[in-house]
């Protein structure tokens, strides 16, 4: 219990991932949906860093860096698209988007 | 051993908290006095000799004033925001070597809470987090002026974080370390970094004004167009925490600039330590000096300056430094 091993981090990562999944399925507002995806990415980052530490291998940290880079570009493009959508329809609800076919 | 280390760290943290809070209070006194002298006034004169106890009077007033929380604000965030501003200013100072290490009753004291080997990145990160004070305070306030201020705060902090990071990258390339103690030792051997990186120094200095929100870039809480920005709805000690955070930030930046560019505390002698305090005093004085002398820029000019002038210069500086080092 006192000694923190890889499993501790992996369990934590799982819990956070599950929380993120709940958020993805529950949220209606697209911005809140983005928040939930950030949680998913972060939980994966934790497990990457933990594996990297416990196997003495830097690859996990490298992957975490690339995940952060992807998250940053996701924000830039995603927010840009959202702004376009919001300017056109004054609404960023997910249900509204699925209704507007074509 | 571990207990001794723990006790030492706690003592250091308490000392830093107390010293920086006291400095923040004194900073307001110095600011009022110096601005007054520059405008042919006297400044605070009545409370205590030369108005020195004005700081205490202000403190008493802030502590005892009613803490108003308007009806429509998002309560918890509204209460949290000032704490963030003050806390990040203190947190960032954990990685700063304020003075050279000295012997006290036969015990070697390093006046730095934690010499982490990513010191500068940590400082940049925590200063970046400092943006949440104005941002959340402004967004939670249910006030259009506060919201404008929050938007400006987000824009200014993100933009100038880029300039700070890029301008500091060239010195980091030269030193080859992110620890401020390594910076100091490098400069003790090879001369001050300002002589080899004057452009980076000026860029960092300009960005420091934006990060602390001081006068030429005093747009986040611009009194004459957005009332007091994020501070509009605050009163009492919560507003006081914003204030302490701002002044602690100023002192903190005034320590960081000499440590990175102006030789720090040199070889660790008493003269070096005094010189560091002197340099710190000059940079703090310069914050007040510009406030008396210069007008504010417009928000769009601020962004223009950041993205079209300072950032290209910083990038060119890095490229040239890299070429020279090769």
């Amino acid at each position: 219990m006192i000694e923190i091993g890889l499993n501790h981090y992996l369990v934590l990562s799982t819990i956070l991932f599950a929380i993120g999944l709940v958020g993805v399925m529950k949220r209606k507002n697209l911005l809140m949906l983005f928040f939930a995806t950030e949680i998913l990415l972060n939980s994966v980052n934790i497990s990457f860093a933990a594996i990297s530490h416990y196997y003495g291998d830097l690859t996990g940290q490298m992957f975490a860096f690339f995940v952060i880079a992807i998250a940053a570009s996701e924000v830039a493009v995603g927010l840009g698209l959202l702004i376009v959508w919001h300017k056109r329809y004054n609404n960023i609800d997910l249900d509204f988007m699925t209704r507007m076919k074509g | 051993m571990e207990t001794a280390y723990l006790i030492e760290t706690i003592i250091k943290i308490v000392v830093i908290l107390l010293v920086f809070s006291a400095l923040a209070g004194l900073g307001t006194y110095f600011e009022r006095k110096i601005l007054a002298f520059m405008q042919r006034r006297l400044g605070p004169m009545y409370v205590g000799p030369f108005g020195l106890l004005q700081v205490a009077a202000d403190g008493v007033k802030l502590f005892t004033k009613e803490d108003i929380i308007p009806t429509n604000v998002v309560g918890r965030i509204f209460k949290l925001a000032p704490v963030i501003t003050a806390a990040t200013a203190f947190m960032a100072s954990a990685a700063i070597p304020f003075l050279p290490s000295f012997e006290l009753f036969g015990y070697k004291v390093n006046p730095i809470v934690s010499d982490i080997n990513i010191g500068i990145l940590y400082i940049l990160g925590v200063m970046g987090v400092g943006l949440y004070g104005p941002l959340l305070g402004g967004m939670a306030s249910a006030n259009k002026f506060s919201l404008i201020s929050a938007a400006r705060g987000a824009a200014v902090f993100i933009s100038y974080e880029v300039v700070t990071g890029l301008s500091i990258l060239a010195p980091i390339m030269m030193v080859g370390s992110l620890s401020l103690i390594d910076f100091n030792n490098y400069q003790a051997e090879n001369g001050w970094i300002i002589w080899s990186q004057p452009v980076a120094f000026i860029l960092f200095w300009i960005a420091a004004f934006a990060e602390t929100g001081r006068t030429p870039f005093h747009l986040i809480a611009n009194d004459h167009e957005i009332i007091d920005g994020f501070g509009t709805e605050y009163s009492g000690m919560r507003w006081g925490l914003f204030f302490i955070g701002e002044y602690a930030n100023m002192f903190f930046i005034s320590f960081v600039i000499p440590l990175i560019f102006l030789g720090g505390f040199g070889d660790g002698s008493v003269m070096g330590a005094l010189a560091l305090l002197g340099k710190m005093a000059f940079f703090f004085f310069f914050f007040l000096w510009t406030r008396a002398a210069w007008p504010d820029v417009r928000p769009d000019q601020l962004m223009w300056l950041c993205w079209k002038v300072l950032m290209p210069i910083a990038v060119i500086n890095i490229v040239i430094t890299g070429l020279v080092m090769m």
């Binding site: - | 110096i34 002298f37 006297l42 002398a293 002038v309």
Partner: protein, 206 residues
């Protein structure tokens, strides 16, 4: 920059004014860039720094530390009203003519008069609402007897405004009058020195 029209002659000497020569604002990006470079390297910012530094070093403080030091005020300073007494008889100068009440543009003077036992007009009530008074000075100017004047007491802080409106408070106190310390209004229409010698006696038979 072309000046559209010269000022008409407003009797101001020529040497006091000079035209500020403002260059046209640049419209092209290149022009704007040049302006920035020029402003950056011409050192205007440092001129500003030097000016405030010079003032600080010179230490030429203009502050008046008010409760201890006070600015001298002019004799015609228009602050809270004073009612004066006659030098000869120590009675009030006010004859109850009501001119001040009539002329008061902010309607703050109220007076009630009656005929007293000597068949003389006597002022029974007189008040000035200082909350409304704009200190224009018309009442003092119109008073034929120099009875109401403006005093120099500008520190009117009190628990309530009503503390200033009473006739008794504005009237020169008797002991002060006895001591001969009533200050005369020195402005326009004031009593000049040696007034008595300069006034010719009206013949009794007139």
């Amino acid at each position: 920059m072309k000046i559209e029209e010269q000022f008409n002659n407003r009797n101001v000497s020529d040497n006091g004014y000079f035209m500020v020569d403002i260059a046209d604002y640049p419209t092209t990006p290149w022009g704007k860039f040049k302006r920035v470079v020029k402003r950056t390297f011409r050192g205007e910012l440092f001129v500003g720094l030097w000016v405030v530094m010079r003032e600080m070093i010179r230490f030429d403080i203009h502050t008046v530390q008010y409760p201890e030091e006070k600015m001298p005020i002019g004799p015609r300073y228009r602050a809270v009203h004073k009612m004066k007494r006659l030098w000869e008889s120590d009675t009030e100068r006010c004859i109850g003519c009501g001119l001040c009440e009539k002329i008061c543009i902010s309607n703050c003077i109220r007076m009630e008069t009656k005929i007293d036992e000597n068949s003389r007009k006597e002022v029974s009530e007189y008040s000035i609402n200082l909350g409304r008074c704009i200190f224009c000075g018309y009442c003092a100017e119109v008073c034929p007897e120099l009875a109401i004047t403006h005093g120099g007491e500008y520190e009117n802080a009190s628990e309530q405004r009503e503390h200033f409106v009473l006739y008794e408070d504005m009237l020169t106190p008797l002991d002060k009058m006895k001591a001969g310390t009533q200050k005369e209004f020195e402005g326009f229409g004031a009593i000049t020195p040696h007034e008595d010698e300069r006034v010719k006696k009206t013949p009794l038979a007139y």
